[in-house]
């Protein structure tokens, strides 16, 4: 029982970390970044490079962050910015980018499945059971990341500007907020969080060029039911991720893989606002 509870909590944490980059991009830019899966994959391969260079596994996330920030900045300039007024086309263009990323990785690293080193090994005793230390660390990362984004949004000038752009972009612009800069920074940070998330999840599973896809689909559905709120995303990760763990444990992993997308689709049909306040 404790194991199940810990599984639910850590799964929610992992989902939150994977989806939050997509959420902030969707909130500020109003576009769905389908390259998010490609960015996750890229983060995974950043971790692989760190492993192959025999660097400390702790360096995987920082390396991934740098790659993601730079790539995000370039992609925003070249692809996303011309498509601000065409959000549907932005979905398609970022999906095209995702294809490009996957093919580049395939050319560079091959199609085979690979593994990376985990910075920590083994399990720790907790609440009368012993539990994977790395999964617990992921839960802490989720809490820290969520808290950090919350603090930036609530307590800094950039966050204030971002919130203004989320609420009413035209008005924000007329108040002298440089919404282009806000979008640029947000996309870059969103991509950075995506690559970090990709690097962080790799010790838990194998790496291959298509590893980002199932995560993208789950993250996309979580963002659809969360709107633009971090708290809704946390709630959605907990409820839908929890359902996934329960279904996988007591029924079959195949059904478990469907749980999030199906439940989110049903929820959106019944309540279009999802977990966000209507």
């Amino acid at each position: 029982m404790t194991d199940l509870l810990l599984d639910i909590l850590t799964t929610a944490g992992i989902l939150f970390v994977v989806a939050v980059g997509l959420l902030i991009v969707f909130g500020v830019l109003k576009i769905i970044n389908f390259a998010h899966g490609g960015f996750l994959t890229l983060g995974g391969y950043a971790a692989l490079i760190v492993t192959e260079l025999n660097w400390s596994p702790w360096l995987a996330a920082p390396v991934a962050l740098v790659i993601g920030l730079l790539l995000g900045a370039a992609v925003e300039r070249l692809i996303v910015r011309p498509l601000y007024s065409r959000p549907l086309d932005a979905i398609l263009a970022t999906w095209g980018l995702s294809i490009v990323v996957v093919q580049l990785i395939t050319i560079g690293f091959g199609r085979s499945t690979q593994f990376v080193l985990s910075p920590v090994q083994g399990a720790v005793p907790l609440l009368g059971t012993s539990y994977s230390l790395y999964r617990l660390i992921m839960l802490i990362v989720a809490l820290v990341l969520g808290g950090l984004i919350g603090v930036v949004m609530q307590g800094t000038r950039l966050g204030l500007a971002a919130r203004a752009v989320i609420m009413n972009e035209t008005l924000a612009q007329s108040l002298g907020i440089n919404s282009e800069l806000v979008r640029f920074a947000t996309f870059s940070v969103g991509a950075g969080i995506a690559t970090v998330a990709g690097a962080l999840i790799t010790p838990l599973l194998s790496i291959d060029p298509l590893m980002g896809l199932p995560w993208l689909l789950n993250a996309f559905m979580l963002v659809m039911v969360s709107g633009t709120s971090l708290i809704s995303l946390a709630a959605a990760s907990l409820v839908l991720g929890g359902a996934q763990v329960v279904v996988s444990t007591y029924s079959s992993p195949v059904l478990g893989a469907l749980t999030i997308v199906v439940l989110a689709a049903v929820l959106l049909r019944i309540r279009p606002a999802g977990f966000a306040r209507a």
Partner: protein, 620 residues
């Protein structure tokens, strides 16, 4: 544009244009069929093999274009319907003996399952109040679920490795080539005729402004659902042929990547062109197969990169971009002549014939209607009756609830409490399209029109409840009732029938929407500031037309207006709303002389209707 009484400018008739275009597409069709006929004789065996598959993909790309390019329904799950057809074939021939009966039953089964799944998706996605993005989300989910179902099927479905090596039709590759090729040509031709027909313009009007369509009484959910089902059936047929020909089915036929690839082909070929997507789909799939041996990943990379570039710098796609280039290089061919149908008088429209004097129910009966948003009460306890032959003006300061009241009357979902009956029939919780069928017509506050259609096409769509739109022809005449015709003449719309609505002035758009609403021949007319943005002479003319409709044809008109002088001239009764309640309901004389109303409306005692007080404003 104040009343140039010119009649229609010399425009080509729709049927002439249609015939001309049909000539072009006919030539293309013959060329396509000729290529399909000689293809197997000229091409090597490998190319023939590949092209069979490419042709089938081309057919699905055409259905994606009709759904997305024309109607605005973006489906990522067209692959799933294709795969349903393919698995119907694969499962039947793997588990049963190959007999003609089994073959036919499997085909029927695949088509029926695909159709039912599409109907379920349509029910989920096109219900009232569901977000327009939902169709994309739910079709994406469909493709994910499909793949997992196949995985879960174990030996029965072949799980991740799929099914292969089953007995199948004993046809030569040449025969399959011709079947798939002819199918592609036919699907494209029929699709082309359909989207160019009058009914096809309805698809575009749904894409452009679904709300306006619903307020013309068109059940857009039904139209979109029917299209989705037909597209699913076409995709399933293609899938069946694919499985029967290749002798292999695998889960990735139905996955999200293939569904998205179809969308990418359509975007590359040019949305809303049909032929572009068909050609691009065939071309890309064919070249992919050729290059998959030598440079598999590089080729995918190139497709992805080209796609990004096309989306960013050529939003309309490669087909139209190339066509534009050719047009610019050629010496100026004859300029495209505008095309527009002629206007003709509709058979007399006289609701008095329907009503027996004395016994007829009231046109609008509103009892105790309220509308709240949480604790905010926008309307409270509104009750009044609008009779035939009355022009009732709703006046009141901004935020009085006038537009909310109109909304409550025309959409059964809007009000919180109370009852509304139109022509004696309860509105209940009906959606707008069904309220409209009770005899309502609603003109919105800001012009609510179809930007991509011409004036004539817009009028045709607005009449679609009364004159069925043909799915294979374009009619030359639009029959308009006298009132709509008067508006069109008075505001100069008759001279602009071939003009795209996007290029009209604000005032002309207002006039067009009014003409469209009148073209529906409503018995109860809801007008929210119908003359805002029109010139003084045009307002006077429209005022006259409204008075005429009420006096001669017995309509009941509810009018929101800020120009009180205008209101005083044409109203038979005035209702004053203030803070969500009716504060006065009386004759023009009573209201004009009311001290209370003056205080509410202007903040200070002042005669209503004095030119100085007649400041137009906007209502929220």
């Amino acid at each position: 544009m104040s009343a140039p009484m010119r009649d229609a400018a010399p425009a080509r008739l729709p049927s002439e244009r249609f015939r001309l275009e049909l000539g072009g597409i006919g030539a293309l069709t013959l060329l396509g069929l000729a290529l399909v006929a000689v293809g197997p004789l000229l091409l090597d065996r490998y190319s023939v093999n590949i092209l069979i598959r490419s042709f089938l993909y081309g057919s699905i790309a055409v259905t994606v274009d009709i759904l997305w390019g024309f109607t605005g329904v973006l489906s990522f799950g067209q692959s799933a319907f294709f795969a349903i057809g393919a698995y119907a074939c694969g499962l039947a021939f793997s588990h049963l003996d190959f007999t003609p009966l089994v073959a036919v039953a499997a085909l029927g089964g695949g088509v029926v399952v695909a159709g039912l799944v599409a109907a379920l998706i349509a029910w989920l996605a096109f219900g009232t109040g569901v977000s327009p993005l939902y169709i994309s989300v739910v079709t994406l989910v469909l493709s994910i679920v499909f793949v997992q179902v196949i995985y879960a099927g174990g030996d029965f479905t072949g799980s991740s490795s799929g099914l292969s090596g089953f007995d199948t039709f004993d046809l030569s590759n040449e025969a399959w080539f011709r079947i798939a090729g002819v199918a592609l040509v036919l699907v494209t031709l029929l699709g082309w005729i359909f989207v160019r027909s009058d009914a096809g313009r309805l698809l575009v009007s749904i894409r452009e402004n679904e709300q306006r369509c619903r307020y013309f009484g068109i059940s857009t959910s039904w139209v979109k659902g029917a299209l989705l089902v037909v597209s699913a059936v076409v995709a399933a047929l293609a899938g069946y042929a694919y499985a029967a020909y290749t002798d292999v089915v695998a889960p990735d036929l139905g996955d999200f990547q293939f569904g998205t690839m179809l969308v990418i082909w359509v975007a590359l070929g040019g949305r809303g062109t049909l032929i572009g997507p068909a050609i691009i789909a065939v071309l890309i799939d064919f070249v992919s197969a050729w290059l998959s041996g030598s440079l598999p990943f590089v080729w995918q990379l190139v497709v992805g990169a080209v796609f990004i570039v096309v989306i960013v710098i050529m939003p309309q796609g490669l087909g139209p971009a190339l066509a534009g280039l050719v047009r610019r290089l050629l010496p100026r061919v004859s300029r495209i002549q505008p095309t527009a149908a002629r206007l003709a008088e509709a058979p007399t429209y006289d609701i008095e014939t329907h009503m027996q004097m004395g016994h007829a129910p009231a046109a609008v009966e509103i009892t105790g209607v309220a509308r709240s948003y949480g604790s905010l009460h926008v309307l409270e306890d509104i009750s009044f009756t609008g009779r035939r032959g009355e022009l009732v003006s709703l006046v009141g300061p901004n935020g009085a609830g006038k537009t909310t009241l109109i909304r409550c009357i025309s959409d059964g979902q809007e009000r919180t409490r109370g009852r509304i009956a139109i022509q004696g029939r309860e509105v209940g919780r009906m959606p707008p399209e069904r309220c409209v069928r009770l005899g309502l017509g609603r003109k919105f506050q800001t012009p609510n029109v179809f930007d991509a259609l011409t004036v004539a096409e817009s009028l045709r769509v607005s009449r679609s409840r009364l004159e069925r739109l043909s799915p294979w022809r374009r009619a030359d005449e639009i029959h308009l009732p006298e009132a709509a015709m008067q508006v069109a003449r008075a505001t100069g719309l008759v001279a602009q029938l071939g003009t795209t609505v996007r290029h009209l002035s604000h005032g002309a758009k207002q006039a067009l929407e009014l003409a469209m609403v009148l073209a529906m021949e409503p018995s109860v007319l809801l007008l929210d500031e119908p003359t805002a943005g029109l010139t003084k002479p045009e307002r006077t003319l429209i005022g006259g037309i409204l008075v005429d409709l009420v006096a001669k044809h017995g309509l009941c008109i509810l009018l929101i207006e800020h120009d009180l002088e205008f209101v005083r001239e044409i109203s038979s009764r005035i209702i004053v709303l203030h803070q969500g309640r009716i504060v006065l309901d009386g004759s023009v004389e009573e209201v004009v002389t009311s001290e209370l109303v003056r205080t509410i409306y202007t903040g200070e005692p002042q005669a209503i209707g004095e030119p100085a007080a007649a400041g137009p404003g906007s209502d929220g």
